[in-house]
């Protein structure tokens, strides 16, 4: 679509684009160059502030932090998927007394900021009720409650997006409610929503960084610790850059996986139904809506 906004450039447009391109590149280079210049002036490229990377203990410390981050991510992701499945089942129930409370739970946890949830679990429980919860548990539970609610909405949207004929046909064959759901609707819904679900897992991975604020010893926490070590030259910028690279690499991998799944499902759909041109944009919008920051 975007290529449709302008014609193949003629001589004048080519010249204009060239000028714009040069100006754009110059502006970008100026900004990047200025930042790099400030890095150099404030001696962030000195070997002394990068020396920490050679120490074995620090490497082990960072590996440990990475393991802590991944541990929180894996546990939270599994719990969120389970919690989301339960909530989605509740929301899709025909019984008011089940679907009502499930809706309230979903709406509540989606409206309250995740950080406040984590604070309630960590500071609120220990200082308010005297029940001490570890930082890991508070982080994982907070992630589970928030992302579970978002995932429940994704599951529900997936089931709702299926053609009504699917469930009608299944009922006509004499299937029971549970059979219709588990044998007919869910397999199709999960297949359609898999890219969105994986995108939401990227959000879980990103949000593990909130553990920093309740002093869970994950990557950012150790970055802060290393950055304040005077005998290493307080290398907070170099450490932050390395940590950023680790986070971005992990999230990009997961996001790429989501993209791959989407391309695959698109290909399959096309084979089944060649006359569905507008579906792609609809699904893209749905995904963007679901995977909000």
């Amino acid at each position: 679509m975007t290529a449709v906004l302008y014609d193949a450039p003629g001589p004048r447009a080519k010249r204009r684009n060239l000028i714009l391109g040069v100006v754009g590149v110059a502006a970008l280079l100026a900004v990047v160059g200025f930042v790099v210049y400030r890095f150099a002036v404030t001696s962030q490229f000195d070997p002394t502030v990068w020396q920490w990377i050679l120490y074995k203990n620090i490497q082990l410390l960072l590996v440990d932090a990475l393991v802590n981050t991944l541990r929180a991510f894996v546990v939270a992701a599994i719990l969120a998927l389970l919690f989301g499945a339960v909530l989605a089942a509740g929301r899709l129930s025909d019984h008011r007394w089940i679907s009502g409370p499930a809706t309230v739970v979903v709406e509540f946890f989606r409206a309250v900021p995740l950080l406040i949830l984590i604070f309630i679990l960590y500071f609120g429980m220990s200082r308010g009720l005297g029940v001490s919860i570890s930082a890991f548990t508070a982080l994982v539970l907070g992630l589970m409650l928030y992302n579970g609610s978002v995932l429940a909405e994704i599951f529900r949207a997936g089931v709702a997006s299926l053609p009504r004929g699917q469930s009608e046909a299944a009922y006509a064959l004499g299937m029971r409610k549970t059979q219709v759901m588990t044998n007919v609707l869910l397999p199709q819904a999960i297949r359609a929503m898999l890219p969105t679900i994986v995108s939401q897992l990227v959000v879980v991975l990103k949000d593990t960084a909130l553990g920093f604020l309740i002093l869970y010893p994950e990557l950012l926490y150790q970055a802060r610790f290393l950055g304040s070590q005077g005998q290493l030259g307080s290398p907070i910028l170099p450490v932050a850059m390395v940590i950023a690279a680790i986070y971005i690499a992990m999230c990009l991998l997961l996001a790429q996986f989501a993209n791959y799944l989407e391309r695959r499902s698109r290909r399959n759909r096309r084979r089944v139904d060649p006359t569905a041109p507008d579906d792609d944009t609809a699904i893209e919008m749905e995904q963007i809506r679901a995977a909000t920051p």
Binding site: N17, I116, I120, F123, A209, L213, C251
Partner: protein
């Protein structure tokens, strides 16, 4: 109830701080996102590549890490001495712009190709095609998801409390120092966010329902 009534002015000033942060960052992120989206659909390849790279990197960076950069690492560069509030705004704008850009870009994609083709056939330039034909139509499908992104931004402002900005996320520290019940205090903060977020969510659903039938 006492926790709230005794500290009404604390809650009030904290939530005012939250709303200020939200408004500045919301306007900034919409402007930034529009600029990025214009770059991503522009005829200049370098700008397209930059826009795509920015969005891909920033969307896959935790917001806490961006805050971390602005709060602890930025002062080391000794560029400009900014307040914590300004740096929190910058972090939120840098992060949210990427999401706004994606929504605007996919909104542009929902406008039928014939619209852009027709305007090109009439001799409109890129700027005219985008500004007078495509963007006004894209707006319909952009506003509902844009609202949910700004709602997420409102909730994300709480992270600023971890980096010395006074707003709703930091109320519990003050209460804890003065011996109030932190759990109750935090539940009131959650209630405050419900009051802010729920109307916005309802607005968003309403827009979605009314505007989705357009095409």
């Amino acid at each position: 109830m006492n926790v709230l009534l005794d500290n009404l002015d604390l809650y009030w000033s904290a939530f005012v701080g939250t709303v200020e942060l939200f408004l500045v960052a919301a306007i900034g992120s919409i402007v930034g996102g529009l600029l990025l989206a214009a770059m991503r659909v522009s005829p200049v390849p370098v700008l397209r590549v930059f826009g795509a790279g920015y969005v891909n990197i920033v969307r896959n960076t935790p917001l806490t890490l961006i805050f971390f950069f602005f709060a602890f690492a930025y002062p080391r560069l000794e560029i400009l001495d900014l307040s914590f509030f300004a740096r929190a705004c910058a972090a939120l704008i840098v992060y949210t712009s990427a999401f706004v850009c994606e929504v605007v870009r996919s909104g542009i994609n929902t406008v039928p190709v014939g619209q852009a083709e027709a305007s090109r056939a009439l001799g409109f330039t890129f700027g005219q095609t985008l500004g007078a034909i495509v963007l006004p139509q894209a707006l319909r499908s952009v506003v509902p998801p844009l609202t949910s992104i700004e709602i997420a931004l409102l909730k994300n402002t709480t992270i600023a409390a971890g980096f010395s900005v006074f707003e709703a996320g930091g109320i519990y520290q003050n209460l804890s120092e003065r011996g109030y019940n932190v759990l109750v205090g935090l539940l009131w903060v959650a209630a405050g966010f419900l009051i802010l977020v729920v109307p916005l969510t309802l607005l968003q659903r309403n827009l979605e329902r009314r505007w989705s039938v357009a095409r």
